[in-house]
């Protein structure tokens, strides 16, 4: 009897005491921070193997563990990472009918080689058995080679064109990148990094069994060779300027993976990778966290933080709750919360223009959207400035096309279509759509009505859909909004090209190559030109961009591309949201390597062109000040 009473009252009391004690402990006693950075992420990486991942969550983690040959510095300029030097050159090959013709061409061109002519950057020429002439140029691209071809024709030295299936070219132009590698880098298991790793990584990426999302970046590579342990030579089949950027991707360790079947990588490597970067993999508790620890042998020196933890959290609200309870160290602020954080002195905020834009894609296969007047009318009937003000609380700008203001090739002169419902109505009238009895416009007995799709789970897009619905009603257009899960949206509508209009966004890197999105050849199921945009002029611009290496030329082409596509309105380009991050004031400072060996620059966290989190590996907590004696195993850089 007593025992019954004991249990009956005792257990609940015990539980309450435990709860209160645990609460007091968590709130007041256990509050000191470790020397560890906590980063919140919504998506969990599916794999930490950098050549098999395509989601941003995986690359965030990968950025700490791996290095590429090249990287961006804080001004978004390309600098060396694992490579100390890279030279671009090209081999242009002509073929002739006879050896004499070839020799004639050679002596003609050797003059230019000797005199270092600025227009024709020929470094040397060489006869290849027996009727070919290889011209080495110090710059890649078509222009110089085309000028040479023209000059040969003028000189009546006739070359024989190359036939490759149905394509006829006057010459073969093969760009070459020559990388010189650092010699002081080691993998996390101590093995030295060499050119064999680059070779292996390339082979793995193009291996279909690996199914690497990066394989399309290397389609035009004809060969990769490693003449010495610290040099790599990459040859391309034809000029392809985005090539350099593809070498910013992570490099894999050959010594660990070259003898393992790709299908076994998932168990053997992908969950506990080895890289060369500032942090080493430590542990991964699925759906909870991934922990990295500092690499004291990092070639730039040991990081100041002992460890970095990536916490996997399911949704934005949870991220915010985690940030406010010091469980993660920074948070990507939702636009409506920016104001309240700005006013709060406990926080530091960093804002920058974003890398993505939101749009409504018109399915150009539908007769309704084939009339440019209709597309322009719809664009001017939607009040985008108001959308920016109310959906993203003013934190963003109207989009003027396929590039965002942050990109160096963005054209600020492109004028955005203004909000003008009157013009919209006029345009619709002109296109033959007259107001019907219920206010909705009619033409040939059909009502001006379409379905707008958006994905469940993204409030901004849902709100966009609702606002668009309202705005278009004012000009006599009926919009039905349907929300679906992402998986359904893709399978049932987008991949089959069976939709009217859809609210989406593109997240872009610093890459001007948008071939996959806009080229008329990319309209098959599952390809990215799912609105079926066809413009031969744009096709040319896209291909030209891919072959252009000179920055001023790229700028010209990109600007033309942006204006042309904007004029065509295949999308209703909406807005480019700003991204703002918030940190607890003074929770971190930056101490990064200076330009001279042994020099360190100490500063608070600031915003740079590459963002505030550039060089995150060199952050430190003021409670754990860095001691310069923890430099890595080498001082020269």
């Amino acid at each position: 009897m007593r025992t019954i009473r004991l249990f009956l009252y005792g257990i609940p009391i015990l539980l309450i005491v435990l709860l209160v004690a645990a609460f007091l402990n968590a709130t007041f006693l256990s509050v000191a921070k470790k020397n560890e950075m906590s980063i919140g992420t919504i998506g969990e990486p599916s794999t930490l193997n950098p050549i098999q991942q395509a989601d941003s969550a995986s690359s965030e983690v990968g950025g700490m563990i791996f290095n590429g040959l090249l990287k961006y510095n804080q001004n978004l300029e390309v600098v060396g990472d694992l490579a100390t030097n890279w030279e671009l050159s090209q081999e242009t090959t002509f073929q002739f009918a006879t050896e004499e013709e070839a020799k004639k061409a050679k002596s003609f061109l050797d003059i230019f080689a000797r005199t270092n002519h600025p227009d024709w950057p020929i470094t040397s020429t060489e006869l290849a058995p027996r009727t070919k002439l290889i011209i080495r140029l110090s710059e890649p691209g078509y222009k110089a080679s085309e000028a040479i071809a023209q000059a040969l024709r003028d000189k009546e030295i006739y070359y024989i064109p190359f036939h490759n299936k149905s394509v006829v070219t006057s010459f073969l132009a093969e760009p070459i990148i020559h990388f010189t590698l650092r010699r002081d880098v080691r993998w996390h298991d101590g093995i030295p990094f060499t050119s064999a790793d680059i070779l292996f990584t390339y082979k793995a990426i193009i291996n279909p069994r690996v199914a690497s999302p990066r394989s399309s970046d290397f389609e035009l590579v004809s060969s990769v060779t490693a003449p010495t342990p610290y040099e790599v030579i990459v040859r391309y089949k034809k000029p392809f300027s985005p090539a350099l950027l593809s070498w910013m991707g992570a490099i894999l360790p050959a010594h660990l993976l070259e003898n393992i079947e790709p299908s076994k990588w998932a168990d053997f490597y992908n969950r506990h990778p080895i890289g060369t970067g500032p942090f080493k993999f430590d542990s991964w508790k699925t759906n909870e966290y991934i922990r990295l620890v500092k690499n004291t042998d990092y070639y730039l020196g040991s990081p100041w933080l002992d460890s970095v933890v990536f916490r996997v959290l399911p949704d934005p609200l949870t991220l915010r709750l985690a940030f406010e309870t010091h469980q993660i160290d920074f948070w990507n602020v939702d636009p409506w919360a920016v104001k309240s954080f700005e006013k709060d002195k406990r926080f530091d905020l960093f804002s920058s223009s974003g890398n993505m834009y939101n749009y409504i894609g018109w399915n150009l296969r539908r007769p309704l959207f084939q009339d440019l007047r209709v597309r322009k009318a719809l664009a001017q009937a939607v009040n985008i400035p108001q959308m920016i003000k109310y959906i993203i609380y003013g934190r963003g700008v109207q989009s003027t096309g396929i590039f965002t203001p942050k990109m160096w090739f963005f054209d600020p002169r492109v004028k955005a279509l203004p909000y003008n419902p009157t013009t919209a109505r006029t345009l619709l009238d002109q296109a033959g759509w007259k107001p019907g009895s219920d206010g909705i416009r009619v033409k040939d007995g059909k009502r001006l009505s379409f379905t707008l799709l958006a994905n469940n789970g993204n409030e901004i897009r849902r709100d966009i859909a609702t606002l668009v619905q309202d705005d278009l009603k004012q000009v006599g257009v009926e919009v039905k909004v349907e929300i679906y899960e992402w998986a359904v949206l893709l399978k049932r509508f987008v991949n089959k090209g069976e939709f009217d209009a859809i609210v989406l966004g593109w997240g872009l890197g610093n890459d001007f190559d948008q071939y996959a999105i806009w080229h008329s050849s990319q309209t098959h199921p599952e390809e990215l030109n799912f609105v079926d945009y066809q413009n031969p002029e744009v096709d040319h611009l896209l291909s030209d961009l891919r072959q252009e290496y000179s920055r001023p030329e790229i700028l010209k082409l990109a600007e033309e591309l942006q204006q042309t596509i904007y004029n065509d309105q295949p999308y209703l380009f909406l807005f480019v949201p700003e991204s703002t991050s918030v940190l607890w004031k003074n929770s971190y400072r930056l101490r990064q390597p200076g330009s001279k060996a042994g020099e360190w620059i100490d500063s608070p966290i600031t915003m740079t062109k590459a963002g505030w989190s550039y060089n995150m590996e060199w952050f430190y907590r003021p409670e754990y000040p860095p001691k310069d004696s923890v430099l890595g195993n080498n001082l020269k850089r």
């Binding site: 609200l317 406010e324 409506w336 003000k389 109310y390 409030e459 609702t466």
Partner: protein, 297 residues
């Protein structure tokens, strides 16, 4: 004295079960309060439905967006504040009441219908039919109901009819078991046996003898499904699988307001309170009914 006692005895002797239950029900104060709350919800839901059918809205149209007025706290103009598109929360909640109550009643009707039929057949015929049916019920109970509802709604699409049907389809098992139990017991009673001897058909036996006696406990337990359905619908809406916006339900007001939780607490508090009150009143009323129906000496 004797006359008084005689009268009292007379009164209790001539009282029908129904009247007695009625009296005992209303004797409980909590019953009155909960019925008033239920009626309040029902009337506001019905009134709102009638009003909007004729094109009027009070206090305003729940779907009119007004971006200048978004995320406003409760004020004299907007008693319960506005949501992220500037829509009046009170109006949306009034419409949501209709959805919650409709889902509650129809889902229960569906589940009662199926449960009644299955349970009656199993209980009345017994034997092999009973075994087969009950094993199927067991099998159905093995499906983790929540995932079942999720996937079913994902297949059929999240419209109100689909959700109602799905909730009903998933929750009939309890009713079926109860009905079967009642039928099994009642089947053995004297008057049913007598009716069989007299050659009465199954149908008339069921409708005339068994059902009226089984009705009370079955109905009382089945009605418990209403608050359950209201809570399930709110949970589904919250997860994004319920009735879709812009149609307002209590659950999806909370769901849409989730991201603004720390800045706009009213988007969470009021709809949640409404769900709580509605479900609570049903539970209390049904409990009062059960207490009243109890055979206490």
């Amino acid at each position: 004295m004797t006359t008084l006692t005689a009268k009292t005895i007379q009164a209790s002797e001539t009282e029908t079960p129904g009247t007695r239950i009625w009296r005992r029900f209303w004797a409980q104060p909590i019953a009155l309060i909960s019925v008033i709350v239920i009626l309040f919800f029902a009337i506001t839901a019905g009134g709102t439905a009638i009003l909007s059918a004729t094109g009027h809205h009070w206090p305003c149209d729940p779907n009119t967006t007004n971006l200048e007025q978004k995320l406003l706290p409760p004020s004299p103009q907007h008693w319960l504040g506005t949501d992220n598109l500037g829509r009046d929360v009170l109006s949306r909640m009034l419409h949501g009441a209709g959805i919650s109550l409709t889902v509650g009643f129809i889902a229960v009707a569906v589940s009662l219908g199926i449960g009644l039929v299955v349970g009656a057949i199993a209980g009345y015929f017994g034997g092999l039919t009973d075994q087969i049916l009950m094993r199927s019920v067991d099998a159905l109970l093995c499906f983790p109901t929540f995932f079942l509802i999720l996937t079913a709604v994902a297949i059929l699409g999240p419209s109100m009819i689909n959700i109602v049907v799905v909730i009903g389809l998933v929750s009939w098992t309890g009713t079926a078991r109860l009905v079967r139990g009642e039928f099994l017991t009642l089947r053995e009673t004297e008057y049913v046996k007598g009716a069989r001897v007299l050659g009465q058909g199954h149908w008339s036996i069921i409708t005339r003898h068994i059902l009226p006696n089984a009705a009370a406990p079955i109905l009382v337990t089945a009605v418990l499904g209403i608050p359950d359905a209201i809570l399930t619908e709110a949970g589904l809406s919250f997860l994004g699988f319920g009735v879709q916006p812009p149609q307002a339900t209590w659950g999806n007001i909370i769901a849409e307001g989730k991201s603004y939780l720390l800045d706009a607490w009213w988007l969470n508090l009021f709809p949640g309170l409404a769900i709580l009150l509605a479900a609570l009143s049903f539970y209390l009323a049904i409990n009062a009914l059960q207490e009243a129906a109890e055979n206490r000496s």
